[in-house]
Structure formats: C-alpha cells, structure tokens
C-alpha cells in the first residue's frame, strides 16, 4: 500500500457553501461579454472563406465602404506580426509564422475569417459584406489525414502536411534555449503501407515521432493473448454555450477588452502579444464565462478583431460570434486514428503495448494530442513495455486546440475497448483486469527523459476501482448482462481514466484591512468550475477566519490581481491551493511578527486563530483589524511597500497598487513537488440497448475519483459528472461530417454536431472520491476538470460491447445506425477509416 496520509479535519475545506456568483448566474444578472454596452458602440461582422483552401487575390470593398453606416474594414494586412511569448522561467517561445491568426489572406479551412466590417449595426455590416468582392484562387485541399498520407495525396498547406517536433537547438552560453515551432514537412506513405487499410486496419507507415520503454518484442512473446485493434475517435467542436463574443475599446492608450476566458490573469499577456502592445496597456474584464473546455484558456485570438477595428475607428466595437461562426473558429478536439497491439498475461497484465496514432491536426498550430495520448495510456495502464509512434497531419478543417483531456480522452477511447475485449477472451473480470494494470504511488510513465521515466506524485486507482465497484455493485450486476429480454439487452462497463492534475509556482495575494476583513485577489477565471473562489477557501481555513469575513475580487485586471496559473490542464485546484497556502502562511508569519513587536516575546509564541493573533494558550493578542492597522503603521513588508523578489512581475504591479491598505500578504508557491501530478477516475456504467433499433439508454453511471483532498464537494461532483458527460457525448453522437470531394462540412449546425442532451444521460448519476491527500502538495488537492472525460466515453463503450459483443463498432461515436447495421450483418459495418463520416 502507498504511504497514505489520513485526511485532516478541516472547517471549510471539504464543506459545501454558496459561491459568490451563484445568484447572479441563476437570476441572469451576471454580465457576460455580450451584455456590455459602451457609448457609440459599433458592431462588426465577419466574411468567412467559402473554400477549404484558397488565396486571396484581391479584395474590393469600395461599394461596402460607400454605404451609409459602414465605418471600417479590417483585413489580415492590418494585423500585427505574430510575436514571441516568454514563460515564467524566462524561456522564449518563438512565434510560429504558420500559426493561426484572426484574419487571413490564405484561408486554410472553410469558415476561416478573411475580413471584418464595422458598422452602426449588424444588419448594415452584413449587407456591407455582401457588397465586398473577394477574389479567391482555389488551392488543393484535404480533409482526411489518411488521404493526405497517400502517395500523391494533397497537402493541406502549400508547403507540407505534417508537423514534426525537432530537438531544441543547442543553448547559447548563459541562455535558456528558445522553444522553436515544429517543422512543417511533407510525409507520404507507400501503396504497400496502405495494404492494411483494405482490411479496415489502420495502415502504419513511417511515423514522425516515436519513443519506447522496455522490450516490447519480449513482452509480446511472453503474452498469453495478443490483440491488434484499430479505433478512430471523432473530431468534436467545443460547443461552448457562450460563443467567443468580444467587445473592445481604447481609452488613453489602454485597450479594454470584454470576452470570455478560462484564465483572467493569464489572458493579459496573451492580449498584449496578439495586439503587439505592452501588457501594462491591457485592461481585461471577464467576470463570467460560458464555458471554455480548453478553447478559451487565454481567451481567443479573434478578440483582436474588434480591438483593432476599435482603434481604427475610435469607437467601441462589439463582435458577436454566431453559432455557425463558433463552429468554424470555436476550436475542436482532433480525431485520432489509433492502432493498438497489446499483449496480455493470462491474468490480464499488459506485457507489451505497441501504440500508433495519427492526429488530424487541422491546418494550424500543432496540438499535442498524439503525444499526450501515449503519455496518458502509459501512466494509466502501466504496460511492462511500450512503444508509441505518432504523426500529426494537417487537414483543411477548423483549427484544433486542447479540449478537456486533450489526447488523454482519445488514448483512453482507443485503449479501453481492447481491454474490454481482452478481459472477455481471458475470462478475467473487467475490474480485476484494470486493477492489475493500475498505477500505484509514484507510478512511472512515458518515454525516458535523461535515461529515466518520469513518475506520478501519487495514484490511488486501485482504491477508486475497489470503492467504485462496491458502490456500483459491480459483481452483482455483471452476472445478468448480455441476455436478451424481448428486443432489449443490458451491459455493464468499467473504465479507468486520467489526466494531468496540477502545476506549481504561482502567486497568492490578499490584504487584511483595518475593518478586520480579508480581501482576497483572485486571478482565476470564472469558467464555471468555481475554482475562482474554491481555492481561496484555503486562506480562510488556514487563517482561521469565517468565510463571510472574506471578500474576493475577480474578473477585472484593473483591480490588482496576482499572477495565476492558466485554468487549463486541470491545474488550478492544485496550483492555486498551493499559492493560497503560501500566502496564508505569509500572513500568519507577518501577524506573528507584528504581535511579537507590540506585545513582546518571539513570533512563534503567537498563534493566529478566531480572527486574532494571540499568545499560545491564551493571553494578550491583537484582532486582525488591529494588526492590519499596525501593518500600515509599520509599513515595509507588512503593508506591501516592500515585496518579495521571487513573485511574478504581474503580482508585483498589483501588490504595489494595494500597498498601504492593511496587512498585505503575498507569496509565491515554493513548496517542494516530487513528480508529475495526475488525477484518476474509475468509471462504471450500465446500458440497455435495443437490438431492433440500435438505440441505447444509459441506465446508471458512477464515477469514482482519486483527486486527493476534496475542496468543495458540490463543485467537485459537478466537474466529475459534467466532464464525464462531455466524454459520454463522444460515445453517443458528437462528431463532424465532411464531404471529402468538396472539402466542406455539412454538420455546421449545433444540432448536427449532436452534443448530448439532458435526456441522454441517466436521471441519477453518482460520483465518489477516494479522499486520500496527494503527498506532494500542502493541502493534498489535485485538479479534476479533465480526468473524467475519457472515463465517461469508455465506460459507455465498454458497457455496449458487454451487451452486444465485440463485433459492433470500431470507432466513436456509436450511433443507432452503426449498432443496427452491424448487428444485421454480424460484423462491424461502419466505414472503418474514413474521416468525418
């Protein structure tokens, strides 16, 4: 057993409470970007490319600009050049000259914005766009990565079809090596390589990236069972209910931007970089965001369109993004074509795993889904030997980006049906097979780095499987599955799931003012997870202050927010509870010092509790209000006139502005951290399929999470089940549909892309948490946003194959037509490899 620290008894952590944004959200008082108005505000509309790949020969906007009410046009020629970015540790990330920009003169997918028109209202702007002549030269295109890999297949870009990551250049003395963009290459396979495609198996020509650990040949040789399976996951749009609408204006040289984001503080440098201005000239307002799921980690680059138009015309500009536009520019998860050869011992232990994936990248910036699919499969299933090979192929389809569990979800979706099939073939219980392969403790994963595998901070997957199986009554339920009653047949499925669960090194900032209250500054985005407030419960907990004595300022960067992690990669709970611990510790230390100065003795003679700092065991003390007043009198570090040198310059600016208002607490998270933080979920589902229609219904669902200490149960449950549903959508029906001949999508409407509805999920969905603190972080809490996604998808697939057998599906989503046609034919009937059907 791993070294388990029993949960601490907390007053606030682990308890439900009413978040400060609840009433505004449920009453409609919350203001999202589209709800803002400014004096003289104009509206802008976009002209989108009608072709999958073309070059703009010329634009004639004279008739449009002559219309009354039309104020300006913005084209790609008006955009600043792509700029480098710099990470917190000073590493320069060089701009990718082929990266996605808000407007273009060479559209690489249908729906890509070419120009924008600002006018007094949207109707005028739309009519103006219809008067613009855009002369386009059609160029070759491809919307299927395998078609592009064929001998003589078209390339999505004129200069290549594959992103290849190159090793970093040798560093210059005394400098960190910059991060260079991937290399664009042309990769074609041979006709011999494609032989496997004839039998529906993924062809495996030369890969562009590869790693291996251990001896897979020996692993396969020693295996009792070897399976070799092909599986294709769908391209899926993020479908945030709030589209990426933006309103922007300029005042006194500063740009004010209203748009949705996942990460408030982190969006400021992104806006500055995209607009080519200093970040001190950016004011960013985003108190509420209608979903991001990875597509709005730092807002979206299209925000520059109203910002630049506003600068051009000297008036505020609102850009409302429609649902169809969102379908094009709202980003998407890339499909992975995967092939898994897996060797199992007779007990079900994975002796060897040979994984091959092709990522359908879209035409722009390289996404890491191919690589991370291997990394997650490695940590989650702990193969005794593993090889991973991958390619990231460009297509003329909308740009991809991270979507909840990027790569992880696809890797799990490709792997889990293989495990389910193996358990049936070996006669091993499905839970037992996952348990025998489950990571435990400092579980190793991924390729060798400097001769060693990396490892997890902790993993309690076996506990999650055991407790989940018990709560779900797995052993009772599994007995009667697969038997037809009338036209109905039931099945149960289990899956394991994981994704990254935390980063380190960010800042906390708050002020105890002479009114005795704690004013907490939150740079976390309000993306719906409630982490913008939940992480700060740690401050109140450690300070011993009631929650109603705390006020949180969030969502407006003119209000002095600290440098904060991006809310992506499920980092926030982990990263910002660490920062909250660090800043609370700083406050406690300052309070103890002030008390010792005023009341004698040593700082360590004092404790902070009950809104006081007082001598241990009772006696003299100061209220927080008195201490705050003293901090102002003492000045220096106590009221923020002296600041630590290790905090981010963003925090320094904010803390400087807050100095002198009370006891200012500010600190960077410098806690030790050994390993990579992951969270895990064991997921259980029961389905009932109708063999006469192919339709199926999810009867029951349980997700049991290993996320360390539980911060806020209601929010955690919302994330576990909500993100499970995101994954379930990939099984039930979410996908793109493209006509390959024209390179154009036919599934542009919200209902064509079929996100799951409330009636598609069971009435009762359950969740649980193992509640074993992570030993590598002070509060023990890890993130949860992404880990459930792959589990939700895979548990339903596994329940379906339990009900219907292994010869039904070879790709997701699994819709009624696929099930019925395959049952009818007695073999999988769906086109096995063609993209976007």
């Amino acid at each position: 057993m791993p070294n388990v620290t029993p949960p601490k008894k907390y007053n606030l952590i682990g308890k439900n409470y009413t978040t400060g944004d609840l009433y505004a959200k449920v009453t409609g008082k919350a203001k999202y970007a589209e709800d803002y108005r400014a004096d003289g505000m104009l509206f802008c509309k976009l002209a989108l490319s009608p072709m999958p790949h073309a070059r703009v020969r010329s634009i004639d906007a004279s008739a449009a600009l002559a219309m009354p009410g039309v104020k300006a046009i913005l084209t790609a020629d008006d955009l600043p050049a792509p700029a480098n970015s710099i990470t917190d540790n000073g590493t320069v990330i060089l701009a990718n000259p082929r990266g996605y920009q808000a407007l273009t003169n060479e559209p690489l997918f249908q729906g890509q914005p070419i120009l924008a028109v600002a006018a007094i209202d949207e109707l005028t702007a739309a009519e103006a766009i219809e008067k613009i002549k855009i002369n386009l030269e059609p160029l070759p295109f491809v919307v299927d990565p395998l078609v592009s890999l064929r001998p003589g297949g078209p390339n999505a870009r004129t200069d290549g079809n594959a992103w290849v990551r190159l090793p970093p250049p040798p560093p210059k003395p005394g400098e960190r090596p910059p991060v260079t963009p991937p290399d664009l290459q042309t990769v074609k396979w041979t006709n011999e390589d494609f032989e496997d495609a004839k039998s529906g198996r993924l062809p495996m020509g030369k890969a562009t990236e590869e790693w291996h650990v251990g001896d897979i040949d020996a692993g396969f040789k020693n295996a009792a069972l070897v399976l070799d399976e092909t599986f294709v996951t769908p391209n899926t749009s993020h479908q945030c209910l709030e589209t990426r609408t933006t309103m922007a204006y300029w005042q006194n040289g500063k740009v004010f931007v209203h748009t949705g984001t996942q990460s408030t503080a982190q969006t400021v440098p992104a806006i500055a970089r995209w607009l080519g201005i200093d970040q001190s000239n950016v004011v960013f307002i985003s108190e509420y965001t209608g979903g991001g799921f990875g597509s709005k980690i730092t807002g979206d680059i299209t925000l520059v369109i109203p910002a630049l138009l506003s600068k051009k015309v000297g008036a505020p500009v609102m850009m409302r993004i429609t649902r169809e536009e969102e379908n094009y520019i709202g980003r998407a998860r890339p499909s992975l074509h995967g092939r898994m050869k897996v060797g199992f011992s007779k007990e079900g232990r994975i002796t060897a795993l040979d994984m091959f994936v092709i990522c359908d990248n879209g035409p722009y910036d390289m996404v890491g889904d191919a690589f991370s699919s291997g990394r997650i499969v490695s940590v989650l299933y702990q193969p005794m030997a593993m090889r991973w090979r991958g390619l990231t192929i460009l297509t003329n389809t909308p740009p991809r980006t991270s979507q909840s569990s990027p790569g992880g979800m696809q890797g799990i979706a490709i792997m889990e049906p293989v495990l389910a099939k193996a358990a049936r073939k070996l006669g091993v219980d499905q839970v037992a097979l996952r348990r025998i392969n489950a990571p435990e403790g400092k579980a190793p994963f991924g390729p060798l780095v400097a001769g060693k595998q990396q490892y997890a901070t902790s993993a309690f997957v076996k506990e999650a499987l055991d407790r989940g199986a018990e709560q779900f009554k797995w052993n009772e339920r599994k007995v009667n599955t697969g038997k037809r009653v009338g036209s109905k047949v039931r099945g149960v499925g289990v899956s394991v799931s994981s994704y990254s669960g935390g980063t380190i090194g960010f800042d906390g900032l708050f002020v105890i003012k002479p009114d005795g209250r704690i004013y907490i500054q939150s740079g976390v985005g309000n993306l719906g997870t409630e982490s913008w407030t939940d992480v700060h419960r740690v401050v109140a907990e450690l300070m011993g202050v009631p929650w109603d004595k705390c006020d949180i300022t969030w969502g407006n960067t003119s209000k002095n927010l600290p440098w904060t992690c991006p809310s992506g990669g499920s980092q926030t709970t982990h990263a910002m509870t660490r920062a909250a611990s660090a800043v609370a510790t700083d406050a406690i230390k300052k309070l103890q010092e002030i008390a010792a100065k005023d009341l004698g003795g040593k700082p360590e003679d004092y404790v902070v509790a009950n809104q006081r700092v007082a001598r241990k065991g009772g006696g003299a003390g100061l209220t927080l209000a008195q201490a705050a007043q003293r901090a102002i009198q003492l000045g220096g570090k106590y009221d923020g006139h002296e600041l630590p040198s290790d905090i981010n310059k963003f925090t320094t600016v904010s803390a400087t502005a807050l100095a002198g208002q009370g006891l200012l607490a500010v600190a960077k998270d410098n806690y030790p951290h050994d390993g990579n933080t992951f969270s895990f979920v064991a997921t259980f589902a029961e389905v009932e399929a109708d063999v006469e229609t192919g339709q199926y219904k999810i009867l029951d669902f349980l997700a049991y999470a290993d996320v360390g200490t539980v911060l806020h149960p209601n929010a955690l449950g919302g994330q576990i089940l909500g993100r499970s549903i995101l994954g379930i959508g990939h099984t039930l029906g979410q996908k793109w549909v493209y006509d390959q001949h024209y390179g154009l999508p036919v599934s542009k409407r919200f209902h064509h892309t079929k996100p799951p509805t409330i009636l598609d999920i069971p009435d009762k969905m359950a969740w649980g948490a193992v509640e074993i603190p992570d030993p590598e972080t002070p509060i023990g809490a890890r993130g949860i946003g992404e880990p459930p996604v792959g589990g939700g998808c895979a548990a339903i697939m596994n329940a379906l194959s339990d009900a219907l057998g292994d010869e039904i599906f070879r790709r997701a989503p699994i819709t009624a037509d696929v099930i019925l046609a395959s049952l009818e034919a007695g073999k999988p009937m769906q086109d096995p490899l063609r993209a976007n059907i």
Partner: protein
C-alpha cells in the same frame, strides 16, 4: 460577392388578424410573400440569408387558426395550434393518443411551445446540403450532392427518390395519416379538403416543394374523423438523441381489431422518403391476421420491398422493417 450567414435580412412584416386578410396579403404579394407560422423552419432560412422574402405574413395574430375543437365527428385542429397544445389537449390524449405521442416526440419542449402543427407538417426538407445553401436540385440546381460517391447521406431516403434524396422530417405527419386526417387548404380558388397523405408531394411531382401548398395557399386546419378514435395505436421514433432531433425513421399505426385479428389498419412511416409513406400493401396483407410475431415479421419484410439504400443509410432498411414489425406487434412488443 462575399457570403454571410446568421443575420436576418430586412423584410416588410404583416400581421393579419383573419384568414381572409392573410389570403388577401398573399394574393397581393404573390411569390414575394412568405407565410410565417411558428418560425422554426422560416427563421433558419432567414438567418442564413438563403431565403430572402420581401414580405413576411406572420399568422400569429390570426385567432381563428388556433385551438382544437372536439365533437362527436372528431377533431378540428387549427393550423397555428402549437405542438404543446396538441400534446396537452385532454380529448386528443384520450381518443387520438397517437397524435400527442408523435407531437411530443418532435424537437424539444421550447420548440414545441413555439412550433405549430401546421408548420410541423409543412416544414421543408432538412437535408444538410440543401439547408446549407448548396445549389442542389431542390434549390433549383442540377445535382443532388447527397447522392454522389462522396455524398453524406446517413439521414436520407431509401424509397421513392427522384434526383433529390431528402426525406420528410415531420413526426406528426405519419400520425395524422394514420388517423385518416383531412387537411383544409384555402387559396385563391376557395377551400379544398385533401386526405392527409395527398398533402405531401415527392420530388417526382415537384422537386422544390414538400406539400401541395402553392403561393397564395394557406393550410388552415386539420380535421381528424372519429373513425379511429380510441383504436389501438402505435407510434415510435428512432432517433440519435432522446430529445431535439429529427427522426431517423418513425412509424405510426392505427389498428382496429375484430376479436384477435386485425380488422382495419393504417400504417405509415416517415424519414424514408421525401413524403410520409403509407404502407397500403402491408395494410392489406395484415388484414384479418392476428397481431403476433409471424404477422409482424411478414409485415416488416413486405414493408421494405423496393428499398434502395445509399452509401451511408443502409441501416434504415432494417430499421424501417423492425419499426413496422413493432407497430404490428403493438405495445406489448
């Protein structure tokens, strides 16, 4: 010229308060006029700027088009009655249960609150090429994009295709045909009453329209005779999601039994052709037979004779067969 979607173009709006006024406006504006019921079909077209009528005649203020009148002879449902009103009406629920079953299967609660029964049966094809503005046969062009070697046609026709392979998307239409409803149409030449199945037209007759309505015509009400009141009914809709989806295939049956055998039956499927398909051959074949597995199987096989699947909709053949089987088996299936 650049194309832009999702902004409704300006139009002249009329809101008549009587059928006579609506017809007069239609007569005055002819092909320039667009008749607006609940708007669920119309606004989709307008937002995309594909259909750009100069004049829109909104029927929402015409009281005589709303409501359900029930008497011993049956029902008369105003064309502007919402699907929700149809679903909730006590007499409809009690005697003509197949209709609320079908109406409640349509779309989503919000859409049913706004969508009308007249609109539901008169809605245009939902083929994603056609609705996406592709210049196909139905849009006046000379190609069917869904019926090409690369065409995506999972949701398209297996029966009666003629150049166009779009299907009729209505859920209430097959139920109304099963109930032997009559559609009341008023036009420049006065009032016509047509059998429900004759209201719908396939591409062989007119490739640009789904119904017999021509410019100047108005569907005013739907009459349901008492013939089938209280009969045994069966409605089922196979769909991708449990709500907010068009049917892949749906089936509606009204059955009158004599002892243990089928005395009379009306059996209709939709989602398989450009019009709802009444299965008269199956109706004749099952007459006098018991509602058992054997009859059901025979009916299912007979129903799909002549079905011609496209590349991606082969599943519709067994789906239609099985839904017909289930309709014959009845609720106990």
């Amino acid at each position: 010229m650049a194309v832009i979607r999702d902004v409704i173009p300006a139009f002249e709006l009329f809101q008549p308060t009587s059928v006579d006024d609506a017809l007069a406006l239609q007569a005055r504006h002819g092909v320039k006029a667009w008749v607006l019921a609940g708007g669920l079909d119309s606004f989709d077209w307008f937002k995309d700027r594909i259909k750009r009528p100069e004049v829109v005649i909104d029927l929402s203020q015409v009281r005589e088009l709303r409501g359900i009148r029930a008497d011993a002879n049956g029902l008369e449902i105003g064309a502007m009655t919402t699907l929700t009103e149809v679903v909730r009406h006590p007499v409809v629920r009690e005697k003509y249960g197949i209709l609320p079953d079908a109406a409640e299967a349509a779309a989503s609660p919000q859409i049913r609150n706004q969508g009308t029964i007249g609109g539901n049966v008169s809605q245009d094809a939902r083929c994603w090429y056609y609705r996406g503005g592709w210049p196909c046969y139905r849009a006046g062009g000379n190609i069917c994009y869904a019926d090409t070697p690369t065409g995506l046609n999972r949701e398209h026709a297996i029966l009666d295709a003629n150049r166009c392979v779009a299907v009729n998307p209505s859920d209430t239409a097959p139920a109304l045909i099963a109930l032997d409803a009559k559609f009341v149409v008023r036009g420049p030449k006065g009032e016509r009453v047509v059998n429900a199945e004759d209201y719908f037209v396939g591409p062989a007759i007119d490739i640009t329209r789904m119904t017999i309505l021509k410019p100047g015509d108005l569907l005013t009400s739907i009459r349901i005779p008492s013939t089938w009141a209280g009969s045994q009914f069966y409605f089922e809709k196979a769909r991708d999601r449990k709500v907010w989806d068009f049917a892949l295939v749906n089936v509606a049956a009204a059955v009158a039994m004599s002892g243990s055998s089928i005395e009379r039956i009306r059996l209709v499927v939709n989602g398989v052709a450009a019009h709802p398909v009444r299965l008269t051959a199956v109706e004749a074949a099952v007459q006098g037979k018991p509602r058992n597995e054997e009859t059901a199987k025979m009916a299912g096989e007979l129903a799909i004779q002549g079905a011609e699947p496209l590349q991606y909709n082969g599943y519709k053949v067994p789906l239609m067969r099985n839904l017909v089987m289930r309709a014959i088996r009845g609720a106990a299936a």
